[in-house]
Symmetry: C5
């Protein structure tokens, strides 16, 4: 069961740096990776090269017309290095700001020479859904990706590039963009599946465990998580939808089918989210009802015990009185007759509760 | 009443194969039919031929301009055989992927030479709603259908083709497509009717049975089922709607009226789903209220018993005290007077509860 | 109060004949009128003729350019007779199917020579809302109406035609269509008013009656009824809206104002339905709250009785003990002092509960 | 607090006269003013004349091109007089019907020579929201208003006309229409403010008063009232919105800004309505929760009293037994030791409940 | 915890001055600043001048083509001074009315020579969300802002203007407008964060504190606050969206990117508001459930105590009876046997409750 600590809203404090000059780059995320890591993968159908560095300066040599170059930057807190890249590709100051502003929601923006895409990577970590800010610059023959920390969702793509698996090596930067978005969205399926597992577990525990506030905590936590997932997925759906309709020379018309496929997947995820949402919202009612059921059980036990023994105790009390003239007291069989009467009352009561289906 | 096992979410584990190369065919369904069965029905107004095989190779002989050929493939786990068909008709790799990806939601896609339609077949099996993935390739003079296992919803169509009942033999592949979709949608009516029966039964049991968590289980299960049906029906509604508006040489304009009819039916089903949904969501409230009613009853019994006998017991206790000087104890008629007083108190109490409508 | 029987969902079993050949006429309604009755009213500004028959054969004589002919068919289970009419006017097979398919929702379809309109007539019968399927074929100079049984909502129109009241005799078939739809919609007002009466009654009984499951039944029944009314009214609203926008030579432009009026009425009904719906959905909460209020009352009585007498009984118990050395027992005024103490405790308790506003 | 009488739905019985000939004028409102009062105000920038009459006949003299004439009719049950006006201005029969049909919802209709606007005037009367039907005919140089009874919302406009305050005298009939609608909508602010007062009062009484069904009554009454206000305001919003977009020679382009201002106001009212609606719907939950809180308090008192004294009474009962051999009975300090034991049990219990935060 | 006073709706009494002549300026806000303060900042890339005055008269000297002039008016109750400004710039009377009408919702209006924007400034003050009316006139080379009182959200902009930080000095009046709106929207983030803190705190206290009506108060207060924030933010979203699409010579095309950024921010705030709203609405359910959990605990204690001791007390009562012939009384070991029997009953009860998981 989720620990209490989970309850904390954990909203990123200062989700946006208030009152800064617009276009100023300020990293507001959690992850303070000590250094910004730059990885360059340069490829075409015939060749593949990979290069890692801490500075973009010498990476620019890889950029040319004949190959696709993928720059991947891990860690957003080394702003000066990121600015160098921005200057080289003449990125708009607001784009630079959004790259490091982890509070920015998923969006797509069309600039003169490039597309700017913001997305969110979701993954489970210690039962928590972590949210990582990813931005992507897609140009004619290059892709730049910015991540908060070194994640591994892109590893299968690196492998496909290296081993030349599938069509990826023979295609352009737009196909790489598709592959990267596909990797991000594929990952949502895992998060969603995990969500479903937690709902399942919680439903089980609603019925088997004794009522406790922990379950309320857990339900509230699930609510919060589903809302957070939604916030990452729904705007991305719009992004993909706009990407599908985009008429831009960066996107090859043949990539259209793949983007439509992407759209299918994100719609599927959205539908699952909505279903899980309805299930989670229903859980509180379910829980409330099981509590009431249990309370009903408790009350019945009390009522049955009290209803049977209170009258009997009263009868016993009667013959415990010290009046001098109580005729029954002297009669020899009184005690035994009384026991009989009491047993009859007891049985009648049982019968009554039985008929009421309380037993 | 539904068994507890039902509660499990039974989400298809790995609803999508995460991180595979896009366009890769991977079967993710439940049904592991040992072999893929291919059935070919070739017909026109004058002739009818039916042929069953385990391999599509020799089936291609049937394809020509003068007749409609319907390929029906049962079982999706024999991927190589399906690929042969795909190669013959030059299907797009993403289409091939969606044919075997049972997690794919209903959709329609227009390609150069064919329409690609994905739908879901619903049927009841052991009180469970089973969901079967169906895809359809509709070309100028052929239809290919892919099913997870050999279902029988298409049997009436086979019969109509064989006995030349109705207009079907005289019409083209588009009418066959309509007939197949009609068969699928007709089947939804049965599932919906079954849903309504379960709601009815549950409503009955809410009032007659003693409160139990099983009912909560059952309501939750109904919720889940209606959400699942919705997920199959609502996207199909969009498919039919797009089919109606489609301007494509594969669809004969005269088939338009029939598709409009199809649309009518699926709207009718959607409306029923929404009504049942509202009824099911209301069930939890109803149940909660009946529990409260029952608890109220229990509390009244307890309160009446306790309110009557506790004061009487107190009076008996008074005269059970061992003080040396209690004047009443010596008086001869005390005991009888006391009985009188007690009976009066008892009657007053009864009257009070009667007036409060608790009895 | 509604009887329990009401609870049954009464969904029309086999709302659609599953797996039949599309375009096949199959009557699926409840009402098995022994014979199909045909009534023909032929009129223009100068003349009026009315004719009743069991067969449409000789009715066709009335059809000519100079007068409007209204065919009214009561009873839909005599399919062969209906087919004759369909053949005469060359109706589409799917239209024929929808005329007898009582599950068909309200709709309008534009054909070459005629409009096809499906609507639902609602009326109250033994506290139940009955739903009757009505279809209408509107041609240049004729209207054909099909009803499940002989209803009387059209009687005022027959009278206006006979007595030449209002403008109706001087206008064409389109105005007759308007008048018929107006009669159907006017009838909804009565059903809606009846709904409001039932809600009012139920609200009263929530407060005055003791809580009982019958009220839950009744609320659930109201819910079901309002959902059913909605299902008849809302699609008809779309029908009227489309009728208003229709550009078709059958509809005279001057009739437009009347159809706009019709639309106003159906919007008004829809708004009422939504308001009643919100009221009904609120009833369950109200009921739940009154139950809780009542339970609260019950608990207070129990708590007050128990809290007062349990301590007093304890005190009496103390002095009922048989210890040899209890100093108080010998003292002469113990008994009276004890009574005093008990009365003081009793009064303090009363004061406490008074201050807590429990009394 | 609202009296019980309030609960009655007070729907206007026969909100529409069912089965009448369309275009027939039938007054269905509540207010039976004995006579229809006609007031004529004729003005332009230079002159102002006011005239009151019981018949429109001699009022027509005022109508000319050089001045704006405002006819105001109070009382709708004198149909023949209204018909005269209708004949003079050649109003459509359906317009005439809607003028006296108080069930008609707000709407705007464009006719050849005039605009027809229906609105609702809301005002508070004895804590009830009364709903008055207002219709307006706006022509090139005249405005006709029809009210159910003589209301005073238009008095400020009369005064502005008389004293030539603001721009009104210098403007045309369209500006008068704006001023009248502005007066109606301004009045909604008062009704809305009153609503807010009632919600505030009710919230207060939820916490301070003891739970009672009266509060449930009041909440239900508030719900009904807010729904009624909504029904008057929301369609008027559409009316104003259409008025803004209208291209019609009756409306001077310069009046556009004023109508936009009107639209602003009605949007503001709509937003308030929605907020109050959410607050009212929340009240029932709030109330339910306060009841539960109170019940919890009651149960705690009972549990504490019972848990403390029932065991003590049991102990006293033990030593009240009449066994011949109970060793403790003879021992001299038994009684005092027992008291000690009982006091210790009592204190332990108190400590237990304290730690559970029940005290 | 929020004090009770908070509960008062605090709606601005007379949110609009009813029945005034349209276009009349009447200040209806709370804040009665004794005087209207005018501040003029005149700047271009090269120069910067700041001037404060109580009257706009001499301020007009600053207005020329070569520099941007920002007039900031604090305090809206000195209407005559505001009118002077309005006359100078020939503002529409309805604009003048909206500037001082603090009830006016956020909107944008395009006039011949200027844009008129209304927005709301939100800030926290003593745990309350205060709402300040701000209007903005944006012309070709000037911006006029009207505030209710001297707020400090614009201070950072003043500083940036003075120190020439960022791009602001080199840009036109449209960029100043963007900067001012950005400052307002940035401030919403703070208010939203504060909201989230309050929700967090409340959730904590739901579980740890004993149930009390104060929590219900607080939840209701949160609801009200979120609704109020929504009312400020949602119309502003539309304003920004319209501003983005605006084609107007006042807005430089290069400012478009910045406005898009603004739109991003306000969407982000809206999403947060919706999430917090769902969380707050869920709180009442959570609270209800925790109360029920607590009640369940209380009932269990009562039931266990009563179920154990009531039967034991009955047994003790039996042997307290004064019958002459009760055989057990004479038997020497009766007392000890009885104790044994009682202990066994006690242990059986404990075992029963243990198995029911009540202990």
């Amino acid at each position: 069961m989720a620990k209490r600590r989970k309850l904390l809203l954990r909203r990123p404090k200062h989700t946006k740096t208030v009152n800064q000059v617009p276009g100023t780059m300020t990293y507001v995320g959690h992850k303070e990776s000590s250094e910004t890591k730059l990885e360059v993968i340069d490829y075409n159908a015939d060749q593949y090269e990979r290069y890692t560095s801490n500075s973009p300066d010498d990476a620019f040599n890889y950029v040319d017309e004949k190959s696709v170059t993928w720059f991947n930057i891990d860690g957003l807190n080394n702003i000066s290095e990121i600015e160098k890249l921005g200057d080289y590709y003449e990125l708009h100051p607001l784009v630079m700001e959004d790259i490091v502003n982890t509070g920015q929601r998923p969006k797509i923006e069309e600039y003169q020479d490039y597309l700017f895409i913001v997305a969110k990577m979701l993954y489970h970590k210690d039962g928590e859904i972590e949210n990582e800010h990813i931005s992507m610059i897609v140009g004619k023959n290059y892709v730049i990706t910015f991540q908060e920390s070194d994640g591994d969702v892109f590893d299968p793509i690196r492998e496909r590039l290296e081993t030349s698996k599938g069509r990826i090596r023979g295609k352009g930067a737009d196909y790489l963009m598709f592959a990267l978005l596909d990797a991000i969205i594929d990952n949502y399926f895992l998060v969603i599946d995990d969500m479903s597992d937690r709902i399942e577990l919680l439903e089980e525990s609603l019925f088997t465990n004794r009522p406790s506030d922990d379950i309320v905590y857990e339900i509230q936590d699930l609510k919060r998580n589903i809302l957070r997932i939604r916030r990452a997925v729904f705007p991305l759906r719009e992004v993909i939808s706009r990407l599908e309709k985009l008429e831009n020379e960066i996107i090859d018309p043949h990539t259209g089918n793949y983007i439509r496929d992407l759209y299918d997947h994100i719609i599927q995820i959205s539908e699952n989210i909505e279903i899980y949402r309805e299930m989670i919202w229903g859980l509180m009612d379910m829980y409330m009802t099981t509590i009431s059921n249990k309370m009903n059980e408790v009350m019945k036990v009390l009522t049955i015990m009290a209803s049977i023994f209170i009258p009997l105790t009263f009868i016993a009390g009667i013959y415990g009185m010290n009046f001098e003239y109580i005729p029954e007291l002297q009669w020899k069989y009184s005690y035994f007759v009384l026991w009989g009467v009491m047993i009859i009352i007891f049985l009648l009561m049982l019968y009554y509760f039985k008929r009421k289906k309380w037993l």
